[in-house]
C-alpha cells in the first residue's frame, strides 16, 4: 500500500507540450507511472512520444479514464487548469506550478472545497512519489526505495536531503508527499498525516515544516488526538528574520507568529520528536524503526 498515487494512477498532464512538462512527463512514465494523456489547448491530436495530447481535460478524461492530473502550465494559466481538471471529474490534482497569484489560488481552493469531489496537492510542490509504484512530479526517484516511512513536506530539496539520509540508514518510503510552499496549499499536513495513519504499509511518519502560518501547530493538535504511529518532525527557518519571505511565498514570520521555535515547541508538547538538523531527523526515524523491528 501507499497513499494517493500507485499502480492504479492514470495521469493526464496539463502543459505536457512545454519543455519542463515534456521532460517530467516522460521521466514519470519511465518510472512506471501510467501517463495516459496530456492537455494543451490547440494541440489536440498530437502526441508526446506516444502520449496522446487533448485540447481539453474533458476530452482527455472521456478518452483515457484518467483519474489524476498534474498541472505544469505557467502561473497565470494554472488556476484555470486546476478548475478545468476538477470540472472534468479528476479526483486528484497535483499542481507543480510556482508563483500562482494568491487570489487565483484561493478561488480554485474554494471551488474544490465546495464541490468536495477532488483533492488538490500543491501548488508550488514537487509532487508525490510512491517508490516502486508511481512518481507524479519532479521528485528524483533514484534516491528513494520502497519501505515503511511516510514523508510529508512543504519543501522539495529538503525532503530529498532527509529521504536520502533515511535511505542510507537502510530504510525506504511508502509515499513522499510534497504539499508545497504556498500560503494556501490545497492539502495540509493533517490531511496527509491522516492518510498515513490509515495506510497499513506506513509505520512511521516524517513531517518537514517551515516558518509561516500555523499548519504545523494544527498538525500537532491533530497528531495528539488521532495518530498512533510515531511521528518525527523537522522545522526549517530558526534563523529567519521576521517580515522576510524566505523563498517560498508561505515562508514568512509575521510579527511573533509562524516562528520555527513556536512550531517545534507545539509539536514537542504533543510528544512528537523534533530533530534539530535534517540528519538528526533521519537518525531519530531510523532508530525508532530499528527499535520496532
Amino acid at each position: 500500500m501507499s497513499i494517493l498515487v500507485d499502480s492504479n494512477t492514470k495521469l493526464v498532464v496539463s502543459g505536457i507540450t512545454g519543455r519542463e512538462g515534456t521532460f517530467h512527463s516522460l521521466r514519470n512514465r519511465d518510472y512506471g507511472t501510467q501517463v495516459v494523456g496530456g492537455v494543451t489547448p490547440g494541440k489536440g491530436g498530437q502526441d508526446v512520444e506516444g502520449i496522446p495530447v487533448f485540447n481539453t481535460f474533458h476530452e482527455a478524461v472521456d478518452e483515457t479514464g484518467a483519474n489524476t492530473a498534474m498541472i505544469f502550465v505557467p502561473p497565470r494559466f494554472a488556476a484555470d487548469s486546476i478548475l478545468e481538471a476538477e470540472d472534468a471529474g479528476i479526483s486528484l490534482i497535483i499542481a507543480i506550478t510556482e508563483g500562482i497569484p494568491a487570489h487565483d489560488e484561493l478561488r480554485a481552493f474554494s471551488v474544490i472545497k465546495k464541490n468536495g469531489r477532488a483533492r488538490l496537492i500543491g501548488p508550488n510542490c514537487p509532487g508525490i512519489l510512491s517508490p516502486g509504484k508511481a512518481n507524479v512530479g519532479i521528485i528524483p526517484a533514484a534516491f528513494f526505495r520502497e519501505g515503511n516511512v511516510g514523508v510529508v513536506s512543504r519543501s522539495g530539496t529538503l525532503t530529498y536531503q532527509i529521504g536520502n539520509v533515511i535511505a542510507q540508514q537502510g530504510f525506504g518510503n511508502s509515499t513522499i508527499v510534497g504539499i508545497g510552499g504556498d500560503p494556501v496549499p490545497g492539502s495540509d499536513f493533517i490531511d496527509i498525516i491522516g492518510m498515513f495513519e490509515q495506510d497499513p504499509e506506513t509505520e512511521l511518519i516524517v513531517m518537514c515544516g517551515e516558518i509561516g502560518g500555523d499548519a504545523e501547530e494544527r498538525a500537532a493538535e491533530f497528531i495528539a488526538e488521532n495518530v498512533t504511529k510515531p511521528v518525527v518532525a523537522y522545522i526549517a527557518g530558526f534563523t529567519a528574520p521576521p517580515g522576510k519571505t524566505m523563498g517560498h511565498a508561505g515562508a514568512i514570520v509575521s510579527g511573533s507568529r509562524g516562528t520555527a521555535k513556536a512550531k517545534a515547541e507545539a509539536l514537542e508538547s504533543k510528544g512528537v520528536r523534533v530533530g534539530r538538523t535534517p540528519t538528526e531527523v533521519a537518525e531519530v526515524a531510523a532508530s525508532l524503526l530499528a527499535a520496532a523491528a
Binding site: 487570489h103 478561488r107 474554494s110 510552499g181 526549517a236 528574520p241 524566505m246 523563498g247 508561505g250
Partner: protein, 383 residues
C-alpha cells in the same frame, strides 16, 4: 509588495474609500508648498514601510508655514527603526470623534479572507488582540460569494460601533474588500479608521500589501515599486532572477530549494556561525545562474566565507560545479568556499572541482560537516 501610506491612499481613492486630501513631497520646500496649498492645520507624515511612525516622531502637525518647514526638516532624513525617511505625505488635518480599526487579510488557517473591525483603533492591534481579544469583531468571507451588506452590518453591530454609523462603516468595509479583491492585495489595513464630528467615515492611514505574483495583471501597481528603496544586493539578485534575502552575518550561503536553504542557515547557526544571506538558486540551476549567484553573494562586503549546499534533484551537481569554476575564472574570489554536492551527478561534479583545483575551495560530503568547516574558515579570517 508593501505600499507606502500615500500609495495605499491613492489606491483607496480609486475605489471610493474616502481619504483626507494630501500631497507627496521629497524636500522641505515641496512640503511647505504642499502645506500652503492644503491649508492649515495640516499633518506632515514620514513615508516609510514600518509601524510606530508616530511614536518615533515621524508624524507632526503644522499650524502655519514655519511649523510646516520645521516639521519637514525634522522628519526628512530621520531614522525610524532602521529606515531613513526620504519621502513625506502632507495632508489636511482631520477632526476626530472616534478612532476605529478595520482590515481585510488573507487568513491562511481558514483559507479565506478575514475581515476585522474594532472600535479600539489608533493603537497596536496585536496588543489589542492580546489584551482584549473580544474587542475585535472577525468574519470570514466566502471568496466565491464576496462581501455582502449583511457582512458589514454583522461586523458593525458586533464591534459595537456608534449606532448612527453602522451603515457607513459597513459600506466602508465593503469598499476595503473591493480594494482587497480588485487590486489582488494580501493585506488591506486602516488604523485608524476615523469618524469625524460630522459623522463621516474616513481612512486616516493605509497599509496595503499587494501580491507580487499578480502584478502582471496590474501594471499601474507594478510601477509603484521604487528600486532605490531596496537593498542594493537584493535589487541585484532580483535583476538576475535569484531569490535572495540579505542577513547580517558573514557567511555567504547558496543552496537549491527554499527549504534546504533555510535549513542550511539553521545548521550554520547551530555550528556557531552567522549567515550573511539566504540565496535559493532554484531548481534546475544552470552554470550561468550559479556564476551570477556568486557575484551577488560576494557583492556583500561582510562575507568572509561561502557555503554551497546542493542536493541535486532536477539541479545537476556537474552544472553547479561548472558554474563555480566559471565564477572563479571571472571574479577570482578572495574568500574561502566550502562546497557540498550530493544527489544527481554528484560524482561528476566533485570530479570537475577536483580537476579544476580551485584555490581556497574545500569539498565536504555532508551538510553538517560543510557547516562546521565554513564556520571554522570564517572565524579564521581577520575582521
Amino acid at each position: 509588495m508593501d505600499l507606502l501610506e500615500y500609495q495605499g491612499k491613492q489606491v483607496f481613492a480609486r475605489h471610493d474609500v474616502p481619504v483626507p486630501s494630501g500631497r507627496h513631497a521629497q524636500t522641505v520646500d515641496e512640503a511647505a508648498a504642499a502645506a500652503d496649498d492644503i491649508g492649515y492645520p495640516c499633518v506632515i507624515k514620514a513615508q516609510v514601510q514600518i509601524g510606530g511612525r508616530g511614536k518615533a516622531g515621524g508624524i507632526k502637525v503644522a499650524r502655519d508655514h514655519g511649523e510646516a518647514r520645521e516639521a519637514a526638516e525634522a522628519i526628512l532624513g530621520m531614522d525610524i527603526r532602521g529606515l531613513t525617511v526620504h519621502e513625506l505625505w502632507v495632508e489636511a488635518a482631520s477632526e476626530i470623534a472616534a478612532e476605529y480599526y478595520a482590515s481585510v487579510v488573507f487568513d491562511r488557517s481558514a483559507k479565506a479572507p478575514l475581515v476585522m473591525l474594532s472600535t479600539k483603533g489608533g493603537m497596536d492591534i496585536e496588543e489589542v488582540a492580546e489584551s482584549d481579544p473580544d474587542a475585535i469583531a472577525r468574519l470570514h468571507v466566502d471568496p466565491l460569494l464576496g462581501f455582502q451588506e449583511f457582512h458589514g452590518r454583522r461586523l458593525a453591530f458586533e464591534a459595537a460601533v456608534d449606532a448612527d454609523v453602522v451603515r457607513p462603516v459597513g459600506a466602508m468595509l465593503a469598499r476595503l474588500y473591493d480594494v482587497f479583491v480588485a487590486e489582488e492585495a494580501t493585506l488591506v489595513e486602516v488604523n485608524p479608521l476615523i469618524i469625524t464630528p460630522a459623522r463621516e467615515v474616513r481612512a486616516l492611514d493605509a497599509k496595503v500589501t499587494l501580491d507580487d505574483n499578480a502584478l502582471f495583471r496590474h501594471p499601474d501597481n507594478a510601477e509603484l515599486r521604487d528600486p532605490s528603496r531596496e537593498d542594493p544586493q537584493e535589487r541585484m539578485a532580483k535583476e538576475r532572477d535569484l531569490t535572495y534575502v540579505k542577513l547580517d552575518g558573514n557567511i555567504g550561503i547558496l543552496g537549491n530549494g527554499a527549504g534546504l536553504v533555510m535549513s542550511t542557515l539553521d545548521v550554520v547557526a547551530q555550528a556557531g556561525g552567522s549567515p550573511a544571506n539566504f540565496l535559493d538558486a532554484g531548481g534546475g540551476s544552470k552554470a550561468d545562474a550559479i556564476t551570477s549567484a556568486v557575484e551577488v553573494i560576494l557583492s556583500n562586503p561582510n562575507v568572509k566565507a561561502v557555503l554551497f549546499n546542493i542536493f541535486g534533484g532536477i539541479t545537476r551537481c556537474d552544472e553547479v560545479a561548472r558554474g563555480l569554476i566559471e565564477a572563479f575564472a571571472q571574479i577570482n574570489p578572495t574568500v574561502p568556499f566550502v562546497v557540498r554536492l550530493d544527489g544527481t551527478n554528484d560524482v561528476e561534479g566533485r570530479q570537475l572541482l577536483a580537476e579544476a583545483n580551485l584555490p581556497n575551495v574545500y569539498t565536504e560530503s555532508t551538510m553538517d560537516g560543510a557547516a562546521e568547516k565554513v564556520v571554522e574558515l570564517a572565524a579564521a579570517v581577520p575582521a
